[in-house]
């Protein structure tokens, strides 16, 4: 079995996000890129599958700032192959990205039967929609998203998909397929920085020139801005001691103590 995990860097929202001078995008200098959370889980799920039934894991990313860190981290975790598709993808939307990946995965349009493609269900900057269903569409293979469990079989996989309110559904999906991962069966494994540094010295990221897609973004952002505080909370100011006292008062006033 060959597992491809397609990853993407997104702005770390722990940092303050600043709107760029064009008023239509983020200030890229102020952004700290990080791997999309559910891509972390997609890598973990692929590694778990490899441990269960064997196979090779390839992690593939479009060229973008700091993506090599994520690729080396994946190598340190145990993936077999890390690939960077080179090109200027800064203006690429989800449909275009799906085309670039599809061209890499199946240049002749046919995904080999023993292939599973795993990637995030959705990232918080996917304004043009989810890449997974587009990729599956392009490759002519089935897709299921919001997956939290994969039970591999010979020619098919059984997957668990989340709906809402804790309700889930079980589906059987024939191979090859594309699966949007919400979370892996286990939390993503920790890899010490020393191991990542070792991977940077010994392992290699393959660079493949990406094929520019036909599809360009079909939308244009008119304005990007920070939301105004609507019903702002009444803030409890002061030291930790003072805040604790104020919280206790609020609870008492609401008959919770």
């Amino acid at each position: 079995m060959k597992y491809y995990v397609l990853i993407k860097m997104v702005p770390d929202t722990v940092e303050e996000l600043i709107i760029g001078a064009d008023g239509k995008s983020l200030d890229t200098d102020a952004v700290r890129p990080k791997l999309a959370d559910s891509d972390e889980h997609a890598i973990e799920e692929a590694l778990l599958l490899k441990e269960k039934i064997g196979g090779d894991v390839a992690v593939v990313a479009l060229e973008s700032p700091e993506v090599e860190d994520a690729l080396f981290t994946a190598l340190a975790k145990g993936v077999n192959q890390a690939v960077k598709l080179t090109g200027d993808w800064s203006q690429l939307g989800s449909l275009g990205a799906a085309q670039v990946f599809a061209q890499y995965l199946a240049p002749d349009g046919q995904l080999s039967a023993d292939t599973m493609v795993l990637l995030r269900s959705q990232a918080y900057d996917d304004l043009e929609g989810e890449i997974g269903p587009c990729l599956a569409e392009k490759l002519g293979v089935p897709f299921v998203g919001v997956v939290t469990r994969i039970v591999p079989g010979a020619q098919e996989v059984k997957v668990t998909k989340e709906f809402a309110g804790g309700l889930r559904g079980e589906f059987v999906v024939p191979l090859p397929c594309v699966l949007g991962i919400q979370s892996a069966e286990k939390p993503p494994r920790y890899v010490p920085i020393a191991k990542v540094r070792a991977a940077q010295k010994t392992a290699k990221i393959e660079e493949v020139e990406g094929v520019a897609p036909e599809a360009q973004r079909a939308y244009e952002v008119e304005r990007m801005y920070l939301p105004e505080a609507a019903g702002r909370a009444q803030m409890l100011e002061g030291s930790v001691e003072e805040v604790a006292d104020k919280v206790v008062e609020v609870l008492a006033q609401n008959s919770l103590l």
Partner: protein
């Protein structure tokens, strides 16, 4: 050419999903502003019963085919594409939910219509629809203009009032014939929510922990405070994904929906996915070191101290107050 608005009805286990009524409310507002018809489409089993609940639409297209229930995004998109063609509609609304994920995306890929995700507001301006999306966990908004109101909008759950889309009455029900290829993906069974050791939906007091709790060991601090308050600990998605608490304690879009008397949110940023599961809480007190965290936009009270510093102090003071 109708140039109208088409709503893709979401339903699960024989029930119309709330998102459908949210879309109907929004769709009605946009349709009236644009002076175009509002049409809803329902596909699956027993669609006549489902469609008769959609009184807010001018008409409802019915595609009776049990195989379309829980069909893949690609299969659903095939039906929607055919109906879009038949209706010559300009704008399509789909639910931005786990159930409908991918339907609009595939339709956009096939039709090359612009697709706008995470829509939380929309208005008509000079004959165009301008959709506002919330990105980066609710920290940034983006306005996108759909020229001639042509496009596909994925509506964020909870962003629009469902009540605005409910109208009793007898909408015009029109059977629609659409041929679809059988789906290669087969539904096996539903898996019911696990209640676990504690049913957080039945708790009066919830101490909720998020990424700011930093490690599994620190969850014990929250457990202690919850015990002192007579409640339970729940969490946002990152904590559950790390395996620090079981799935049964997850609050949010794909987790549980809770409505306690007190929701004490510790180290939770307030991403829309989490907000969706706890917005009905009677009293929300949020603690987060980031003064710009979206959680403060909806909480009743907030504090910007470190939740880990606050927890032991607050626990002691609660215990002292209770005697």
């Amino acid at each position: 050419m109708s140039q109208g608005i088409l709503i893709w009805t979401e339903h699960l286990r024989g029930q119309i999903s709330e998102i459908t009524f949210e879309m109907l409310g929004l769709g009605r507002q946009l349709a009236d502003a644009l002076k175009v018809p509002l049409t809803a489409a329902v596909a699956g089993a027993n669609v006549t019963a489902l469609g008769s609940q959609l009184g807010m639409a001018d008409k409802v297209l019915l595609v009776e085919n049990p195989a379309l229930t829980l069909a893949t995004a690609a299969t659903q998109a095939s039906v929607l594409q055919e109906l879009l063609h038949q209706e010559q509609a300009a704008l399509v609304l789909v639910g931005g939910t786990n159930v409908s994920l991918g339907v609009g995306t595939v339709l956009a890929a096939r039709t090359r219509l612009p697709y706008i995700n995470f829509c939380k507001a929309a208005r008509v301006e000079d004959g165009a629809v301008v959709a506002t999306s919330q990105l980066f966990g609710g920290k940034v908004l983006a306005d996108t203009r759909l020229a001639e109101h042509r496009g596909i909008i994925s509506v964020y759950p909870g962003a629009f009032p469902a009540e605005a889309g409910r109208r009793a009455g007898s909408p015009q029900l029109i059977p629609a014939a659409v041929e679809v290829a059988p789906s290669p993906v087969k539904f096996v069974q539903f898996i019911e929510p696990e209640t676990g050791d504690v049913d957080i939906t039945k708790q009066d007091v919830l101490v909720a922990v998020g990424r700011g709790i930093q490690s599994q060991d620190n969850v014990a601090l929250a457990e202690e405070l919850a015990a002192a308050l007579g409640g339970a600990v729940c969490a946002s998605r990152p904590v559950i994904d790390q395996g620090w608490l079981p799935l049964s304690r997850q609050v949010g879009k794909s987790g549980m929906t809770v409505k306690p008397r007190l929701y004490l949110a510790l180290g939770i940023s307030g991403a829309p996915e989490h907000w969706e599961g706890m917005q009905g809480s009677r009293l929300i007190v949020a603690v987060n070191t980031d003064p710009k965290a979206p959680i403060f936009d909806g909480a009743h009270y907030g504090a910007t101290v470190d939740a880990l510093d606050l927890l032991p102090v607050l626990t002691e003071k609660v215990k002292a107050r209770k005697g």
